[in-house]
């Protein structure tokens, strides 16, 4: 660790060197600054134009404004601004109730504190990157983890009706039941009833509590009646199953669901 005197001496050497070899800020460094600032302004204007008009009609930057705020909404999926995606995904990683406060307060506060005390932790005068392994590793870790968390936050999907239903047309195509009205009705019920909370299906949903993937459920030859019986009381058919009963859907809905499951032979 360099002592304060060494650091002061280093700064004096810096000042002497700048006095001897330095160039005036204007125009040498300021020229670079001006060019970069022009780039920034052009990027901002460009983004605003693309947001408004899209690229050949494709509004790749999203819509200009969403529906008015409805505090009593029943079907909206909240998401933060993109630069908070990493924090959003962090909140999803910490699924255990006892750990919530770690994700909301603990980690952000820790990061802020680490940033603030950095100059007091690292008092070496060494600035060559080849001699600063801790700095390089820390920077790489931060950049990679923020990038991964942001990406995962951006692509996070929810097992609720509105998001899952969007995938139904592609399911119908892949499984070949687009003309089967009963199966389509069942697919909608499948999306609405939160099944993808625990089951995965053709890449949608998440796997929880040991629930199997249902993409090829129909290929197992269990038959519609089995599916209806299982849905009515899963633990009766499969002792120890944590799956809740769906008897309350009623016989018509159960039949539609069963038809959908039996039509799912696995993507062609």
């Amino acid at each position: 660790m360099s002592s304060l005197d060494q650091r002061r001496a280093g700064f004096q050497r810096y000042k002497a060197r700048v006095k001897k070899d330095g160039k005036p800020f204007y125009p040498f460094a300021m020229f670079h600054d001006t060019v970069m600032s022009l780039v920034v302004v052009c990027v901002i204007i460009g983004l605003a134009v693309i947001w408004r008009y899209g690229i050949s009609g494709n509004h790749i930057l999203g819509s200009l404004i969403g529906a008015p705020a409805d505090p009593g909404t029943r079907n909206f999926v909240p998401r933060p601004d993109w630069y908070f995606y990493f924090l959003f995904y962090l909140l999803r990683i910490f699924k255990w109730p006892e750990s919530v406060i770690l994700a909301t307060i603990g980690i952000p506060t820790l990061c802020l504190v680490l940033l603030l005390i950095l100059p007091f932790v690292d008092t070496r005068t060494e600035r060559r990157l080849s001699r600063r392994p801790v700095a390089i590793v820390a920077a790489a870790l931060v950049i990679v983890s923020m990038g991964v968390l942001t990406y995962k936050g951006a692509t996070a999907q929810e097992a609720i009706a509105s998001e899952v239903k969007a995938a139904i047309p592609s399911w119908a195509k892949k499984q070949g039941f687009q003309n089967n009205q009963e199966a389509l009705k069942g697919a909608n019920l499948f999306a609405e009833s939160g099944c993808t909370n625990c089951h995965t299906y053709l890449g949608t949903g998440s796997s929880n509590l040991g629930a199997p993937d249902l993409s090829a459920e129909g290929a197992k030859g269990k038959g519609i009646q089995f599916q209806i019986d299982h849905l009515t009381c899963p633990s009766c058919v499969n002792p120890g199953s944590p799956m809740p009963p769906f008897k309350a859907l009623g016989p018509d809905n159960l039949k539609a669901l069963a038809t959908f499951l039996e039509a799912s032979k696995g993507s062609k």
């Binding site: 505090p71 909404t73 079907n75 959003f88 406060i101 009706a161 019920l189 009833s193 939160g194």
Partner: protein
């Protein structure tokens, strides 16, 4: 050595406050001529008195200047404080203290009421009024309804919220309702029913609390939060994800055959279901705040809700 002022140099009168009084007197006199004779008389008196004092000062000052020199020692501009008085009146110390003290007082007078106006209103008058959800007949027994209503008619649209209401029938003549709030207790996102919601059968009821939308639903998989993976069962108990307790519930009352929602309260968990459910009630806590277990020590005192 000071130079004695000679007769050929112009004599400046010494500084004096009497002209101020004289000016005030003249103004009063002139104004009084228009307004009232008494004011004019007072003004004339003031002008005469202060005028006399002023003239006397100027005349005597000139005499003093040309007379024998005073015993003032040569100074460098600092006020001459007789030495024996320096300890009794430490003037600069008093001025310092007074400046800082008055400054602090002014600062407090300006900032404290302003800051209080910014911070205090959030903590007062927060009690919510009961909400009338309409006639009991609209709630078929055993069926969940998603009710959307305005909690505060005065605030209007901004106070909208949704709740899951189920008529549990009557036990011993007492009607029982399950009234679950749709705000997730992880971080407040709007929880959705885990099952089909029959929008086509939705109806709007006009009650004493404005318009209420009632939509039947079948939350077979309970209630699911779209944000961070929280899931609850049909009684609002947490079954998966980061929510820290069960969903909040509303007190309810039957008033003139109408269902009325009262205060919201927090629930640690619910044993059983329907009319015979045992609800572990707590005072209303914010999302993400534990009400039982060791973590409740982190949130000892809740602001008024």
């Amino acid at each position: 050595m000071e130079e004695r002022p000679g007769d050929d140099r112009p004599q400046l009168p010494p500084p004096s406050l009497w002209p101020v009084g004289f000016a005030v007197g003249v103004v009063c006199l002139l104004v009084g001529l228009v307004v009232s004779w008494w004011v004019a008389a007072a003004g004339a008196a003031l002008a005469l008195i202060f005028g006399f004092l002023w003239v006397r000062d100027v005349v005597s000052g000139r005499e003093r200047a040309t007379g024998p020199s005073s015993d003032e020692p040569a100074t460098d501009g600092a006020p001459a404080i007789p030495e024996h008085e320096a300890e009794r009146f430490p003037r600069s110390k008093f001025l310092e203290g007074a400046t800082l003290g008055l400054g602090a007082l002014i600062g407090a007078l300006v900032t404290l009421p302003v800051v209080a106006a910014a911070l205090v209103p959030g903590f007062v008058k927060q009690k919510s009024k009961p909400v009338n959800l309409g006639p009991l007949a609209n709630f078929k027994e055993g069926q969940y309804y998603v009710a959307t209503f305005e909690r505060n008619q005065k605030e209007g649209y901004i106070s909208r919220m949704s709740a899951f209401i189920r008529n549990n029938g009557s036990t011993n003549g007492k009607p029982s309702f399950t009234c679950i709030s749709n705000r997730c207790v992880h971080l407040g996102c709007p929880v959705q029913a885990g099952g089909p919601v029959f929008d086509k059968e939705s109806k709007t009821v006009k009650s004493g609390s404005g318009e209420v939308d009632l939509t039947p639903a079948l939350p077979a998989a309970g209630f699911i939060c779209p944000c961070h993976g929280g899931a609850y069962d049909q009684e609002g108990n947490r079954i998966a994800g980061p929510p820290v307790r069960a969903l909040n519930r509303f007190e309810f009352a039957i008033v003139e055959d109408h269902l009325v929602l009262g205060d919201m309260y927090s629930v640690a968990k619910v044993d059983g279901s329907g009319a015979s459910a045992k609800i572990h009630k707590y005072d209303l806590a914010g999302p993400g705040q534990h009400v039982d277990g060791p973590e409740q020590l982190l949130y000892p005192l809740q602001p008024p809700h």
